[in-house]
Symmetry: C2
Subunit: 339 residues, 2 copies
DNA sequence: CTGTTAGCGCCTTCAC
DNA sequence: GTGAAGGCGCTAACAG
């Protein structure tokens, strides 16, 4: 029905504001820019006109010129991992506070990374935060485009890359040490899927720590979820012929599954009959039914570090790749008998 | 050190591809557009050149002309709500499959909606999915700009607006009916925070269903989290002088908190000593320690509907606001004795 | 099918 | 402090 064809949906432009305020378009532009020199009176007039029209600068047109999108790509492999909602909430709020927006990508499978990257490039993001497995050549693509990347809880395969991690090795070592001190000698490990970086890292660390004490643990490979934790406990009990002192799970979700299996299927009481520990310190870990002994990732400090490092590198492209390692906090639950 | 000032970080443009392929710039443009008519030979040449240069069309420049950003704003009030990670994962993947990207916003407090909207406008999103409380005037702002919005699990205060909801009323009614049939007569309700739309909806529905059976339930207002569920159970027991048949919680997280409190503090066994029900059907609800009786939201069907409705409205701006209501599925756990 | 020509909305030198 | 003019990278009519 309307006569004017496009103007209908196209929002007001800086020209509209300019003519309403009786100034030039470039004055409007300056008024909306931080460093534009505009007389207070002029600025006021412009802002009033802008409010009246509901004008908001077009980020695309701006980005086209400034080469800055204020967009940060956040790539997370598995959003339903109990640990990531908190991470994501922290990230978006911190980035938002600094004037950046989050372009979110989640992967159905780890192998989809290439597809996701293709989706990222057109938006000329200013930076990226990646909690998914990235090959060196994929990291290189970011470098080639001059887009800073921070890896979350993983490091590059070969090339050094900026990253923020929770110290898996130290965490697992501490758990093993305390379990040993608690008198445990027969161990089982429930690991995550092979394609998980942190999963393998924790597995290696735990296994190494046990080996150094002359212990060869029983082993089960799970999928980082509750169900596979329960399956794993079952499998380990079989392997061990029912004689198992402690089970180390490489994340909390599996540890919780293992605890439930130990209690309901075997009638075990923790930590008297067996010890089970996890890793992450997710919400449910502290629930009364579990009271999991685990290592809590310092999510707030880690996300703060990621954002700070990323913004630094955006402002200052030359910076060297830095790797920050955060120690986890031992969460003393009642699921394990420690020394 | 480099001589050429900007060309350094500015990626290759369609002109670069054009000259490498020996064609005109518009040929490149057409080759990257779905409906562009280009000879297969030409297209091949162009694509090869593009690959060689690592060219990707600039979404900003494109959007400036087409008035389409392929960006969808997803606004979620409380990401750490156990229900949303699944929702968000589904949404991003479905939208991604349709060629859209997700611009994510999360709110620290419900009152921040206005700030968030200001952050949304500059990016000229094609549509929005909102799981946060939106006032009519806020919805109106979307309408004014011609941006379709779909509300998730809430409806507009006054003006009709497109929405996808899980039927809270029907769900609570069914729970009440079954609990009554199970012989329960003394009820408590643990509700969510007042500013939660779904929370109040479920509260009203449960209360009304009880009232219709001549029952006035004890009441506690929680915060939708585990801790307040436990607090609530405590408070209700006090109010009821220890004589409580059943507790209705308006989400699973609180129900789980209540169960833990009932078990650990009061030594109750469920469902023999008391019945507790929740709402949502989140992952932990099915864990062996809880086996919660609850109503599961059909998340997959709901997210599919949201995406379908949104894309429809983007393609066809004139569509009338439609409201789709999905029935929840009764999850028969062991936390309640039903009739 | 292909190249030429205008802009999209804004920022950014420049003169004034 | 302010306005005029020239693009940013791309798409969308147009001619050819």
């Amino acid at each position: 029905m309307p006569k004017k064809k496009q103007a209908e949906t196209a929002g007001p432009t800086s020209y509209d504001v300019a003519s309403l305020a009786g100034v030039s378009q470039s004055a409007v532009s300056r008024a909306f820019s931080k460093f534009g020199s505009v007389a207070p009176t002029t600025r006021a007039k412009i802002m009033r006109a802008a409010k009246q029209l509901g004008y908001q600068p077009n980020a695309f047109a701006r980005g086209l010129i400034t080469k800055k999108s204020n967009l940060i790509a956040v790539i997370i492999s598995n959003l339903t991992n109990l640990n990531y909602p908190e991470v994501l909430a922290e990230l978006t709020q911190r980035l938002s506070a600094e004037g950046n927006r989050v372009l979110l990508f989640s992967l159905a499978a780890e192998s989809d990374v290439d597809d996701v990257l293709e989706q990222v490039w057109p938006y000329r993001v200013d930076g990226a935060i990646v909690a998914a497995r990235l090959h060196d050549d994929q990291i290189q693509q970011f470098n080639d485009r001059g887009i800073p990347v921070i890896l979350y809880n993983r490091v590059g395969d070969v090339a050094p890359s900026a990253s923020v991690c929770c110290d898996s090795a130290a965490g697992e070592r501490e758990l093993v040490r305390l379990l040993m001190a608690g008198g445990h000698r027969t161990f089982g490990i429930i690991a995550g899927p092979e394609d998980s970086y942190v999963g393998e890292e924790r597995l290696e660390a735990a296994r190494r720590a046990l080996n150094q004490s002359g212990i060869e643990p029983f082993f089960f490979r799970g999928r980082f979820d509750y169900a596979s934790g329960a399956e794993g406990f079952h499998a380990l009990m079989d392997q061990a012929g029912g004689r198992l002192d402690a089970v180390i799970c490489t994340n909390d979700a599996m540890a919780i599954g293992a605890i439930d299996c130990a209690k309901s299927t075997y009638g075990f009481r923790l930590p008297d009959d067996i010890s089970i520990v996890g890793f992450d310190g997710v919400g449910p870990a502290t629930w009364a039914s579990y009271q999991l002994t685990t290592i809590r990732q310092p999510v707030r400090r880690m996300t703060a570090a990621v954002v700070a490092m990323l913004l630094e590198r955006i402002a200052n492209p030359g910076m060297a790749p830095e790797q920050r390692l955060f120690g986890g906090e031992l969460l003393l639950g009642r699921s394990a008998r420690l020394g």
